[in-house]
């Protein structure tokens, strides 16, 4: 499994999770905290986030994720952080119960 494949998969999972309301942008930022973002996002991306927020007058999770797209998240953020976000959403949905097939 190459890193590109894993990266694409996590990007797709994040995108689908947001599209299907499995988790919200706020849930993403609950795991991808400002510390995480600051530690892993490249400088130009941090700059864009700040610039868009300044232009809008506020920095909301939705606006952050407009800039930091799922592809960029999967590219720059640790995948275990993204997975924690997904797994927490699955736990809230109640799908990770023990299966007694």
């Amino acid at each position: 499994m190459s890193n590109d494949q894993r990266q694409a998969w996590f990007a797709r999972m994040m995108e689908s999770g947001l599209e299907n309301d499995i988790f919200a942008p706020s849930d993403v930022l609950a795991h991808a905290t400002p510390d995480v973002l600051a530690s892993h996002l490249p400088a130009e991306l941090l700059s864009k986030v700040l610039a868009s927020s300044l232009a809008a007058g506020s920095m909301t999770p939705e606006r952050v994720l407009e800039t930091v797209t799922p592809e960029l998240m999967a590219k720059h953020l640790p995948h275990d952080v993204l997975w924690q976000c997904i797994a927490a959403a699955a736990a809230r949905a109640g799908v990770n119960k023990t299966v007694g097939s």
Binding site: M1, W9, E19, N20, I22, A93
Partner: protein, 261 residues
């Protein structure tokens, strides 16, 4: 929240990207799970595909059912368990076999550890099958099973009864029964009584291998006791010869075979 759509996207992309293989899916979505949760029309489609396929493997099953159908009918915890395992493997950095082209099947060596023939379970018959009208089947005469009561009872202690005489013993010595009136076999090509065993075989001992001489020297030719034994073995009486010239069906002249002009 559209959980199934999320599952479809996650699982489909994992399969497309080579993150997951169909074997990974079937490790969780086992045949037992399919038997319980998959609707009968999808089972029919799956069975049809399996019957017509030269090889039944996990890829065939997953492709035939389709990821959307799997995520639609299989309980979410099972799909999630599959995704969870894939993520654990992805995060753990475990290297798996490189992805193959979607159209190509994994070869047997590459998937020997995880891919095995998937025995399709017997579809649970009960209520739904009773509702469908039975298909008329041509019924022939009752043919006993090869494993009849004498052999098929599974008792190994019972000895096998030797087959009885196939030909009816006839006191009149007529019909086919005459063939079995004596233990001697019907003479084949020899009308005359068989000559006594050739004495030269018994009388003439096989030459022994001497020092400096190998056994292969004698293996090159079959040792025959006497030169004329083969003539005696093939001796045919005059009565057994067929007069071909007197037979009606025999074509004696090649002229008859030529096309007439």
């Amino acid at each position: 929240m559209n959980l199934k759509a999320f599952f479809v996207a996650t699982l489909s992309s994992a399969l497309d990207l080579g993150i997951a293989s169909p074997d990974d899916v079937l490790r969780h979505v086992t045949p037992d799970v399919l038997a319980i949760h998959l609707p009968r029309p999808l089972w029919a489609r799956l069975l049809t595909a399996c019957v017509g396929a030269p090889r039944v493997d996990a890829q065939l099953v997953v492709e035939t059912i389709g990821v959307p159908n799997l995520c639609e009918h299989i309980p979410a915890p099972i799909i999630w368990a599959c995704i969870e395992e894939l993520a654990a493997r992805a995060l753990g950095g475990v290297v798996i076999a490189p992805a193959v082209a979607p159209s190509s099947r994994p070869n047997a060596e590459a998937t020997a550890s995880v891919s095995r023939p998937i025995p399709l379970p017997t579809p649970p018959p009960p209520a739904e099958l009773r509702a469908t009208p039975p298909t008329p089947i041509a019924v022939g005469p009752s043919i006993p099973s090869p494993l009849s009561a004498s052999e098929g009872d599974g008792d190994p202690s019972r000895s096998r009864v030797p087959p009885s005489q196939r030909f009816r013993q006839s006191a009149t010595n007529s019909g086919i029964g005459r063939l079995a009136t004596s233990s001697a076999r019907r003479p084949q090509a020899q009308a005359a009584p068989a000559p006594p065993p050739p004495e030269p075989v018994a009388a003439a001992p096989l030459p022994r291998v001497k020092r400096g001489q190998t056994e292969s020297d004698y293996d090159l030719e079959t040792f025959v006791g006497g030169k004329d034994d083969w003539k005696n073995a093939l001796a045919v009486e005059d009565e057994q010869l067929v007069d071909w010239s007197a037979a009606d069906e025999t074509v004696t002249h090649a002229e008859e075979l030529r096309p007439k002009r």
